[in-house]
């Protein structure tokens, strides 16, 4: 192979490699230092942190492993620091700024960045930044805020270190605004430690290679990333993909128990040549609660989705986003206007990630890059009830660390040739994890009665989505524990299945349980429930109507918290899953026998083995219902007689192709049935039926509130294979057969 002259490094290629690896190694050293010094379990074990390098103007040269959200954010913060403080008070050698304003960078006030300029011979040549999640910034406890002013300290740039001296006045003034000053202080120290490592390392590189080389190499890292990103995009067929993800929030105006506020994230991804446009027009207006995303937060979450799925092997520099245009109308929940509250921005950010990923998964499938295709990672079949942000004190009298992040062990989406990974992680932090229960119990006032994989936790499909975990925990050792609380919303959140797979699983209970008066005695007798259902069925506890106001609920000693984490979406029609595999799922407690029957059409005998005849009959019946219970499809001309020339296989069972010079059509590759012209929405030509959540789930919402959405199935009118399962919320309305794909048939 010959490299075009323009692409050849203008600097010595050997030195460049050495530089690139060392810069990465220094960033890793910085991150490790941060994780060892921090007081946040979510940072130490969950990996919510980042150490990164920027050029003199603030363009990101390289971010290392860790939380992607931070990597994307800090460039903006550096530009503001320069704009605002260059003149007064000035930016000098040995300074380090603390920033946590989500209207500048980051997602919420808990994302704290410490940013230090690097000087060589009196000239500012670069910046290093270390960022992490500190769950305490003072203000109202999580859940109640309606303005950013409720969310604690919001700093646009204070020198925590000045001319190499740690500033105790600044330090004290910040930490004393918080509930747990020592915790916040420890975290500030951890970021300073990481910046010390990064700065020292960067200066070492300058000493070795000279500043001219280091600056040129930084530019090359950015240029290389852009070249790789463009090349990746160019290899994908042109077209437009769309997705719709739902979420819900609290209505802060309502008193007591209230209906949720529903919203949607709508994403249109248009790929032309080597560029990509992501347009969020049509997403819901901003909310009155703290569930809003500032523009920097939305951009950061877009970067996460692109990095995980599309640009995973492209170095993390700003260059990789150069070919991507993002459109987010102001005043939407994805671009809220100051001073909207945004404490729950990571939640809505998660839906941005899922909306982008859903488009990318279909785009990558059409490009034949099957290894990079995953269904959604963030699916909850309902949300609401108690969250996981605690307040109060633990058994030793220390304030409870606020978040308990079992969500970092959610199930991952199914892939074209395998099930999704159960409890595999969380998209923001590909290498993160959750804490041991034993370690949690040393820190939090809980006694876990169980933490296992959630049965029916993943979306059903030919390949199942991975399940998240379910926990049942007893409040033990606190007199004043509280938790954030939002209204129940019986609507699949963050959910998208792929190509006929179900968007989310249907298992799990999220609620506070009031214990039976004799629970302690039951435990002493060995009568200990291991699942929420068991606790309810045995009478050990009952679902409590959570009391509380302003977004918080008390957690009395001896009560139980039942919760579960997100699961992955399924891939392909569940009726295509081998019955033996479903039987194994049931044996392994991943799928209940009820779901096996209902979603997979698999009947098991008393010993748990597949009843082949009954299974065949059940599957035939399900296909039959798909025909008889469906809206009749719009008529499509049949595929003309002649030789079929496929153009784009954009779906496992659908492709665009043509016969001779006839107009391109969409065709089912299994039965040959036409689903209409390539320019049409294939869903209009498919069988469509709605499945009520109450029928699928088989139980009411914990508070008896109504389900607010249906699973909308689209099937091939010829062979009744499921082609898509969408979540549809009538209350929000919109395009009722969301056209999810329009490939440009002109290009193979």
């Amino acid at each position: 192979m010959t490299i075009p002259a323009a692409r050849r490094a203008t600097i010595d290629p050997i030195d460049f490699e050495i530089f690139a690896h060392r810069l990465w190694a220094i960033g890793e050293e910085g991150r490790i230092a941060l994780q060892r010094v921090t007081a946040s379990p979510i940072v130490a074990q969950g990996g919510e942190c980042m150490c990164s390098f920027y050029d003199a103007d603030g363009s990101m040269i390289l971010a290392c492993s860790g939380h992607l959200r931070f990597a994307a954010a800090t460039s903006d913060a550096i530009r503001r620091l320069i704009e605002w403080f260059e003149e007064d008070p000035g930016i000098g050698e040995g300074d380090e700024f603390l920033v946590n304003d989500p209207y500048i960078a980051g997602s919420h006030t808990y994302d704290i960045m410490q940013i230090a300029p690097v000087f060589v011979d009196g000239r500012r040549v670069a910046w290093v930044a270390s960022s992490s999640h500190t769950a305490d910034t003072g203000g109202l406890l999580r859940g109640a805020a309606t303005e950013i002013f409720h969310e604690g300290i919001r700093i646009q740039g204070l020198k925590i270190v000045e001319a190499g001296r740690f500033r105790n006045d600044v330090f004290r003034s910040i930490v004393e605004q918080c509930r747990d000053p020592h915790y916040v202080g420890m975290d500030i120290k951890s970021r300073t430690a990481a910046n010390n490592v990064a700065t020292r390392g960067y200066l070492g590189l300058v000493e070795r290679f000279g500043i001219a080389f280091v600056e040129a190499a930084g530019r090359k890292l950015i240029a290389d990333a852009e070249a790789m990103a463009r090349e990746r995009l160019a290899a994908i067929p042109d077209g437009t993909w769309r997705s719709r993800i739902y979420g819900s929030a609290r209505d802060p105006g309502a008193k007591g128990a209230s209906a949720p506020v529903l919203y949607e994230v709508l994403c249109t991804a248009t790929k032309r040549g080597d560029e990509l446009t992501l347009d969020f027009t049509g997403s819901s207006p901003q909310l009155a609660s703290d569930q809003n995303s500032t523009l920097p937060s939305t951009m950061a979450h877009v970067a996460i989705a692109l990095t995980n799925q599309l640009f995973w092997d492209v170095p993390w520099s700003d260059g990789r986003l150069a070919p991507v245009t993002v459109i987010v109308p102001e005043g939407t929940a994805l671009h809220c206007r100051f001073p909207a509250a945004c404490g729950r921005s990571p939640r809505i950010g998660q839906y941005v990630v899922e909306a982008v990923r859903d488009c990318l998964a279909k785009m990558l499938y059409a490009a034949g890059r099957r290894d990079e295709v995953n269904a959604s990672w963030g699916a909850f079949w309902y949300l609401g009830g108690p969250g996981f942000f605690y307040g109060g004190h633990g058994p030793q009298g220390l304030p409870v660390p606020q978040g308990l992040y079992d969500i970092h062990g959610g199930g991952l989406g199914a892939a074209p040739t395998r099930d999704g990974v159960p409890s595999g992680g969380q998209p923001n932090i590909p290498s993160g994890g959750i804490s041991d229960v034993e370690r949690i119990e040393l820190q939090y006032p809980f006694l876990y009665l169980s933490r296992n994989h959630l049965a029916d936790g993943g979306g059903a499909g030919r390949w199942n989505g991975g399940a998240g975990t379910a926990r049942l925990a007893l409040v033990r050792g606190s007199r004043d524990l509280t938790v954030d609380l939002v209204p129940y919303a019986g609507l699949p959140h963050g959910a998208a299945g792929l190509f006929g797979g179900y968007p989310s699983g249907i298992g799990g209970v999220r609620a506070l349980f009031e214990p039976a008066t004799d629970l302690a005695g039951r435990l002493a007798d060995g009568d200990v429930p291991a699942t929420a259902d068991e606790a309810l069925a045995s009478g050990a506890a009952s679902i409590a109507a959570a009391s509380g106001s302003a977004g918080r609920a008390p957690l009395p000693e001896g009560w139980l918290v039942s919760d579960f984490t997100q699961g992955g979406g399924g891939f392909g029609d569940p009726l295509d899953r081998e019955p033996e595999r479903v039987a194994e799922d049931v044996r392994r407690r991943r799928v209940t026998s009820r779901a096996a029957r209902l979603l997979y059409g698999v009947e098991l005998d008393g010993g748990g083995a597949v009843d082949t005849a009954a299974t065949q009959a059940a599957r035939t019946l399900i296909r039959e219902k798909r025909r008889t219970e469906s809206r009749p499809p719009a008529l499509a001309d049949p595929v003309p007689v002649g030789t079929w020339a496929p153009l784009v296989r954009f779906h496992p069972v659908l492709e665009v192709g043509r016969v001779g010079d006839a107009a391109p059509l969409v065709r089912c590759v299994r039965c040959g049935t036409s689903l209409g012209p390539a320019g049409d929405n294939y869903k209009a030509h498919a069988l469509r039926r709605d499945r009520a959540l109450e029928d699928l789930v088989g139980r009411p919402m914990p508070d008896g509130s109504p389900y607010l959405a249906v699973f909308r199935e689209y099937a091939c009118p010829g062979c009744a294979t499921l082609l898509a399962v969408d979540v549809w919320c009538e209350q929000l309305g919109g395009e009722d057969d969301l056209r999810d794909v329009a490939v440009d048939a002109g290009r193979p």
Binding site: I3, A9, P13, E17, W312, I434, E438, R439, N452
Partner: protein
């Protein structure tokens, strides 16, 4: 070796060869090798001992009859994990937590994978578990984080679990791991008693989490119990079989087993899982002993083979244990020498990235198959070894002492075509670039390990071993700023050497959650109890004199998750020493993270205790090579010369035979020193001298 000498034999089973080191009472040593025999490793061990006896003109029976100790490092456990050829294991755990080994704390999806792999976010999955979900049974019981029983053990659940696992499913081994077993082992022990009443030990192997670790963290502790059960029967069978074979050849001494903590234990008391990484631990121990003899306070070890590059740090004669070492992608809790590994070796592939034109070296490896291009065994992508050949560092006719002929022309052509031409530079410059890049990557890894230990490269001596390390050592040592490199003549059998000369070491690591200040009397009682446990474990007949203890505490600032371990300079605490401890910790913190990061106001917690018991095994002292006669420093004669690439030119470079370099000899670069196992490259500006033990001491 004198007649009537008695011997200690050190054995290390490696991937390709089984190494044996004999040490006679007079301190003389002898080494031999035989091919490793994976179907029954004991065959290779006996072959290697026979070969050693043959070299000494002894019958094997005569040698073994005079042998007091066979100290044994084995890869049986590692091998059983890698090949998944272990026992059929069942797991009994706390009901409600049956999925702990499959949830893997979520981080199990990426544990043990290199950074490049972790980034393949949509493709990375969890490994196949060692225990299938169907063979996990929960029992009702619950102990809290303070050791109090909240739910008493329901014994009929235990009976039902044993019915299902042993009687119905026919498992060979049962792991028992309950929540907070680290704090209170009562329920686990009761389950063991019930199982032991039902089944004889030969029928059912039992493995308790609380026996294996007293550290909090149920995921890794459960893995440890499961992995121990998985490899346990195989390790036991193997050791018993080996003992039988050796006894049949007249061996009347004791078999001691090397552990990953760098110490030996009696065969009968060996915990199978503790033998993981015993080979590398033997190497670390040999380095530590050599460091003691040569007066090196801080050492960094660098072992570069065909596919991996392993780094360890020795500080003041000892090393840290890894927090939760990962084997075959499973985290475990065992005191195991902290050795970090990256995929960088002779087989590491160099290629040009099409989109950016970058010259990438690694992480892909050609391994042994297809191997480097110069092997002529099907490899087409140029590797580090190919570059070393093109640069003249490795003699194609004397690789591994001529055991493998290399095709230098083929290597040159591959580098030219795939690297040099796309970059528009001559092939030899491309080869030099490949070497510089891999040297720099290794230097990055070494630096990280050194910094993590709170040390500085310029204060350390680098011990280079493995076939490929000495070729590259000066390159990465210069980059690091290390001032001295030592290459050992015995480095090819270094692990066996360390194992032969090891002592008994038993270790206890225990989680604590104590806010300082703590009553010193309480801590002293705690230490005393741990020491008593270790003394119970010790077989006194194996050691000479009173055993010694090494004591460590892990401290952290309150609210932190991770602590730092520091060695206690005293055997017991007092009120004054508690204050001194705080200062020691803060000083350590400053060294690690820079001044001002320590945050005393937050308060300190004591998060863990560690005690090592060291029992000295009687053994001969090592001899220096016969002393150099005064006044006649030997002037080494090169065995030949060849062209090697230094500083942009090929230079005629003398080549010396390692085996013929005697103590006192001195050489300056450019020079190459070769042995049957390795090649040492000295570029211009570097020099070496041979010390009294025959070691090459290099000034980079």
């Amino acid at each position: 070796m004198a007649d009537g000498a008695r011997y200690t034999i050190g054995v290390d089973i490696g991937g390709t060869f089984t190494d044996v080191v004999l040490i006679a009472t007079d301190g003389a040593t002898h080494t031999s090798k035989a091919p490793t025999t994976p179907s029954d490793f004991s065959v290779g061990v006996v072959d290697a001992i026979r070969a050693a006896a043959g070299d000494l003109a002894l019958a094997p029976e005569a040698l073994l009859g005079r042998t007091d100790l066979v100290n044994h490092g084995s890869t049986v456990a590692t091998n059983a994990l890698i090949t998944r050829a272990g026992a059929r294991v069942g797991l009994i755990t706390t009901r409600g937590f049956e999925d702990t080994p499959f949830i893997m704390r979520a981080v199990g999806r990426v544990d043990g994978l290199p950074a490049e792999e972790v980034r393949r976010v949509t493709a990375v999955t969890k490994p196949e578990p060692l225990v299938p979900p169907e063979l996990v049974r929960g029992v009702r019981e619950r102990i809290d984080a303070f050791g109090e029983v909240v739910v008493p053990l329901v014994e009929r659940d235990v009976e039902a679990a044993l019915d299902a696992l042993v009687d119905d499913a026919g498992v060979d081994a049962v792991a028992i791991s309950l929540l907070h077993g680290w704090r209170n082992p009562a329920h686990e022990r009761r389950i063991r008693d019930i199982a032991a009443t039902r089944y004889p030990a030969e029928r059912l192997y039992l493995s308790l989490g609380s026996d294996l670790s007293q550290v909090a963290g149920e995921y890794a502790r459960t893995n440890t119990a499961v992995a121990n059960a998985f490899v346990g029967p195989a390790v036991r069978r193997y050791l018993d079989g080996l003992e039988h074979k050796l006894r049949a050849l007249g061996f009347a001494g004791r078999i001691l087993v090397m552990q990953g903590n760098g110490g030996l234990t009696g065969h009968a008391r060996a915990t199978p899982i503790s033998t993981l990484q015993s080979g590398p631990a033997g190497g670390m121990l040999a380095s530590a002993q050599m460091a003691g003899r040569l007066g090196h306070r801080g050492v960094v070890t660098a072992d570069m083979g065909g596919t991996s590059f392993d780094v360890g740090v020795i500080d003041d004669g000892y090393w840290r244990y890894a927090d939760e070492p990962i084997f075959e992608r499973f985290r475990i809790l065992q005191p195991i020498t902290d050795i970090t590994s990256i995929g960088a070796g002779g087989g590491t592939i160099a290629r040009i990235d099409e989109s950016t034109g970058r010259l990438l070296v690694g992480p892909e490896s050609a391994g042994a198959v297809p191997g480097p291009v110069c092997y002529g065994t099907g490899g087409t992508e140029p590797t580090v070894t190919d570059a070393d050949v093109v640069l003249g560092y490795i003699d194609p006719d004397f690789f591994l002492g001529g055991r493998r002929r290399l095709d230098g022309a083929r290597a040159g052509a591959a580098i030219d075509e795939r690297i040099a031409r796309p970059l528009g530079i001559p092939a030899v410059e491309a080869a030099a670039g490949i070497k510089r890049i891999i040297d720099s990557k290794m230097s990055d890894l070494i630096r990280r390990e050194i910094v993590r230990s709170g040390l500085h490269p310029e204060d350390l001596v680098l011990h280079a071993f493995g076939g490929a390390s000495p070729v590259h050592a000066v390159g990465y040592a210069r980059d690091l700023g290390v001032r001295e490199i030592v290459v050992f003549p015995s480095s090819a059998v270094f692990s066996a050497f360390g194992i032969a000369t090891a002592d008994i070491v038993h270790t206890r690591l225990a989680t604590r959650a104590l806010a300082l200040p703590v009553d010193p009397a309480l801590l002293n009682a705690d230490l005393a109890a741990l020491e008593a446990d270790l003394l119970d474990e010790l077989d006194r007949s194996l050691v000479a004199g009173e055993p010694a203890f090494r004591r460590y505490v892990t401290l952290r600032f309150r609210r932190q998750t991770t602590g730092e371990e520091i060695a206690l300079p005293w055997d017991r605490f007092s009120a004054n020493r508690m204050v001194e401890l705080e200062s020691l910790f803060v000083a350590h913190y400053d060294r690690l993270y820079g001044a001002g990061v320590a945050y005393r106001e937050a308060g300190l917690d004591l998060a863990g205790l560690r005690v090592d018991l060291v029992g000295a095994v009687p053994k001969p002292g090592l001899r220096a090579v016969d002393a150099v006669r005064a006044g006649t420093p030997p002037v080494p004669e090169p065995k030949g010369e060849r062209d090697a690439w230094f500083d942009g030119n090929f230079r005629r470079t003398p080549v010396h035979d390692f085996d013929r370099l005697l103590p006192g000899a001195a050489l300056v670069g450019p020079t190459i020193v070769e042995s049957r196992f390795t090649t040492v490259v000295l570029p211009p500006g570097s020099s070496l001298s041979v010390d009294p033990y025959g070691n090459l001491v290099i000034r980079p």
